[in-house]
């Protein structure tokens, strides 16, 4: 059972008496404690976006084993039907994805077929920028789609940014915001306050006017109203920082689920710990595949690398889902994967595939509609040698924003996109 935010705050402040707001409690402390008390129950929805860099080969991820054209186009790379995790009579997951198969059977995983955009770009940085900015002319966009979403819900007075990037490569453009400084978390150690002896209350300055003998200047040129005094704000930030540090520390000490020994699994575990720390973070960004061009860019000798990456993806996410279930957090969390493009339907003579277009996206969570969603794009009607997209990725984003996060998608995406039905109603 997890600790409530209120418990955390009590712990963090070192006393529960604070909430009673006695006369001896500085008023900003009391305000903060009261605010914690009146916080709505922690039922805010959370989105985790997972970037698969390089261009994932959707055909060998969700395999249309019954389609003759699949075997025909993949003389060496085709996966034989008997090894697949069969979803139905037509499709099966890659053999190294037992975790995803289990999630699928439990109705916790949806596959969105044929996602992309018109006139797809096949250049890694350009295509990645399209997905990250949600702008088909990405150079015109100065912010990422999640950065814009964060700016919409971020309140500087709250001293907390409701988004975090967890990863080992530099911050993705998707999180570039105009106002909010989105933290880049490599390890939860960075939430520790170095050189801090843990003596909180006496170390926490409170807000009172400077004493007269030390501040003749303020006394004599008085006039700025308390509303313009920045000091109480800074003191609140200091307090929030201390609370955050303690909440993260407590969450790292709380028992965690079992995760496989992949870097990506460690990333997801970090995210779950941050969720458990109740910091009000609603948007997480993680990546698998690394820096450009990215591990999913499998032009030659694809089979081994691709299988290993899919295993990391599937098993790490399955472990995360299991971990979230223990705290009944799964209904609040939705994870979506994307890549900058899919790959060519035909393999290229080097036991690899080249840059394609449409791809399947995965959505995972307690409230997603499990199953295969949308038509699988035909293998005999191609676009730039890849599968032809029928679902604009911005419709998926719009659904995540409007229906899941309850953030108005219009200012984020520039116009209205019709939702895709992948959430339980």
């Amino acid at each position: 059972m997890s600790l409530s935010r209120r418990d955390f705050l009590k712990q963090s402040l070192g006393t529960s008496a604070l909430v009673s707001a006695s006369a001896s409690v500085p008023c900003f402390l009391a305000r903060t404690a009261a605010a914690a008390q009146t916080q709505p129950p922690q039922d805010d929805t959370i989105l985790i976006v997972v970037q698969l860099a390089g261009g994932n080969d959707g055909l060998n991820t969700v395999v249309p084993f019954r389609d003759d054209l699949y075997a025909k186009n993949r003389p060496t790379l085709r996966l034989s039907a008997e090894k697949l995790h069969k979803l139905d009579g037509d499709f099966g997951f890659h053999p190294q994805m037992p975790g995803f198969y289990k999630l699928y059977q439990e109705g916790l995983l949806g596959v969105l077929h044929g996602v992309g955009y018109p006139n797809p770009n096949q250049d890694h940085p350009h295509a990645m920028r399209v997905w990250q900015s949600a702008d088909l002319r990405p150079d015109a966009s100065q912010t990422g789609w999640l950065g814009r979403a964060v700016d919409q819900i971020y309140q500087p007075e709250a001293a907390r940014v409701p988004a975090v990037y967890v990863g080992q490569i530099p911050r993705p453009f998707a999180m570039n915001a105009e106002r909010a400084i989105v933290p880049w978390v490599r390890s939860l150690d960075q939430y520790g306050l170095q050189g801090d002896d843990g003596q909180v209350p006496p170390e926490t300055p409170h807000a009172e006017a400077s004493s007269p003998d030390r501040a003749p200047f303020q006394q004599k040129t008085a006039g700025s109203s308390p509303a313009h005094d920045l000091l109480p704000f800074v003191q609140r930030v200091a307090l929030a920082a201390r609370a955050t540090s303690r909440q993260v520390e407590a969450a790292t000490k709380a028992p965690a689920g079992d995760y496989p020994r992949f870097q990506f699994a460690a990333t997801l575990r970090t995210i779950v710990q941050l969720i458990r720390a109740h910091l009000g973070i609603r948007i997480f960004y993680a990546e698998l595949g690394g820096d450009e061009p990215g591990g999913f860019d499998t032009h030659a000798g694809q089979a081994l690398n691709h299988g290993a990456l899919l295993e990391q993806l599937s098993e790490s996410i399955a472990a995360m889902v299991h971990d979230l279930k223990r705290d009944r957090l799964l209904d609040r969390v939705l994870l979506m994967t994307f890549s900058e493009f899919g790959r060519t339907v035909a393999e290229n003579g080097r036991r690899g595939t080249d840059h394609g277009s449409a791809q399947p996206l995965f959505v995972v969570g307690g409230k997603v509609r499990g199953g295969l969603i949308g038509q699988h794009p035909r293998l005999d009607d191609l676009e730039s040698n890849g599968q032809r997209a029928h679902t604009d990725f911005r419709r998926v984003y719009a659904t995540l924003l409007d229906e899941w996060l309850k953030i108005d998608s219009r200012p984020v995406l520039g116009s209205r996109f019709s939702p895709v039905a992948f959430l339980k109603t």
């Binding site: 940014v161 006017a209 700025s224 920045l230 929030a240």
Partner: protein, 459 residues
């Protein structure tokens, strides 16, 4: 005197502050001046300021006696050693931070940063270290000069044009992004232009191409037809567009308002009537140093409406710590850390620059500031113990622990602490005292406590 921020007499506000019994010239005001007109003071600077008085101190901050030109020539030379093909600007960032830590003219760096924020090159645009170095040198050359010359030079600069999507501005396809940013961010501002002005400005700048990071003017790509920009019709080019935009009072008002936020206060937007005397002069003379000088000398600047009415940016926070210790530190890890704190020099998030103010401080950035300060004062780690508060305190303040504690509070906060901060400080001083066996380490911890007090986050 009681000051109502919305109803200040401009004549009083902009008149030069004269110390008197009611508002004596003291350590607090000297510290305030050095925070705003630079990145904080050293102890000898504070002492000299107390002896010299405000007028002479402001004068010295505007026009130092040291050979600033020689210092900057040397650093320009350092910057030329950057790999000319480098896309990363990390190397450039190092030299700029070094200038901020070491320059005999910190106000010039502060103003270069101001213009870097106003003429912001957004993060997602292609960068090239050498052309960005030249861009910053351009900003620095005009930072306290003439705004008309600065603006004209900046928008005819390779790095800036590339950043504004004007790197291939052809007659057949003028860059509307360039036109829009020019009007929206650099000059008249929102509400003072129309879409046809965007067209006009974009066409005026046609013919400029950035080829291999160099600006080229290709005559046949320039649209020399008549354009209408902000109500004026003619065969305008980029220089004309700058002149036309400068003739609009909204341009001067905008820049002066930004300078107000930069130097005086970010808590309360100034009324038009308060700014009017400065705007009038700036609109006709474009003299940056004059406006800055008026602000720094003013009654308003030395009033409660300005004192601690800004939140320090990460750069101000870190460079202020270092300068107080009369040395420099390795600027490479510092540049990375400042980026994590939200201020990636050379890469503001968008053409709006850094929004700053309360957005600088969150739980996460507070923890990072706390840990950066810890690292800066540590003997181990990336900064190698170069900041030695014990040595500085002994040289400047005395060797008793009480004296050391007071020295650090006076150096960094001019002794102006809230009762709660004072309590934290005195406990830390007592702890340092009890760690006498290792005074250097004890004083490092104490210095860390001082710069992580809430007051130190305010400029």
């Amino acid at each position: 005197m009681l000051l109502d921020p919305q109803n200040i007499d401009p004549a009083w506000a902009w008149a030069a502050y004269q110390p008197d019994a009611e508002r004596p010239w003291d350590l607090r005001l000297a510290g305030h001046l050095f925070r705003r007109a630079g990145f904080g003071a050293t102890w000898p600077q504070l002492q000299q300021a107390l002896r010299d008085g405000p007028a002479k101190t402001v004068e010295r901050l505007l026009r130092p006696e040291d050979d600033v030109a020689a210092f900057n020539r040397l650093y320009d030379e350092f910057e030329r050693s950057i790999d000319p093909e480098a896309e990363s600007t990390d190397g450039l960032r190092v030299w700029w931070l070094r200038r901020m830590m070491e320059s005999p003219h910190p106000l010039l760096e502060k103003m270069t940063l101001f213009w870097h924020n106003h003429l912001a090159i957004p993060r997602n645009r292609p960068t090239h270290a050498l052309s960005l170095a030249e861009h910053l040198q351009l900003l620095r050359a005009h930072a306290l000069g003439q705004f008309d010359q600065l603006l004209d030079a900046a928008v005819h600069d390779a790095a800036m044009l590339l950043a504004l999507s004007g790197g291939a501005n052809r007659k057949a396809q003028p860059s509307l992004d360039l036109g829009r940013t020019f009007l929206e961010e650099l000059t008249v501002g929102p509400g003072h232009y129309s879409e046809s002005d965007v067209q006009g400005v974009a066409r005026a700048f046609t013919g400029f191409m950035v080829v291999r990071h160099r600006l080229r003017y290709v005559e046949r790509e320039h649209d020399d037809g008549a354009k209408k920009i902000l109500g004026r019709q003619g065969p305008w080019n980029g220089h004309d567009a700058v002149k036309i935009a400068l003739a609009q009072p909204s341009t001067a008002r905008r820049v002066v308002a930004k300078l107000y936020r930069w130097f005086i206060s970010e808590t309360e937007p100034p009324s038009d009537s308060l700014l009017e005397p400065l705007v009038a002069g700036f609109a006709s003379e474009h003299d940056i140093a004059k406006v800055v000088g008026t602000m720094l000398r003013s009654n308003l600047f030395f009033s409660n409406l300005a004192y601690r009415q800004r939140i320090k940016s990460p750069v101000e926070f870190a460079v202020g710590i270092v300068r107080g210790m009369e040395t420099v530190v390795n600027a490479e890890p510092l540049g990375h850390e400042l980026a994590e704190l939200g201020q990636d020099l050379c890469h503001p998030p968008t053409t709006k620059g850094w929004i700053g103010g309360s957005t600088w401080l969150t739980d996460a950035t507070w923890i990072r500031r706390h840990n950066l300060a810890w690292a800066l004062f540590s003997t181990a780690g990336p900064y190698g113990g170069k900041l030695d508060p014990w040595a500085v305190a002994r040289k400047r303040g005395g060797s008793a622990f009480e004296a050391v504690g007071r020295f650090l509070a006076d150096l960094y906060l001019q002794g102006d602490l809230s009762p709660a901060s004072r309590e934290v400080w005195s406990r830390a001083t007592a702890r340092a005292d009890s760690a006498k066996a290792n005074p250097s380490q004890g004083v490092r911890t104490l210095a860390h406590v001082v710069v992580t007090l809430p007051e130190f986050q305010l400029a």
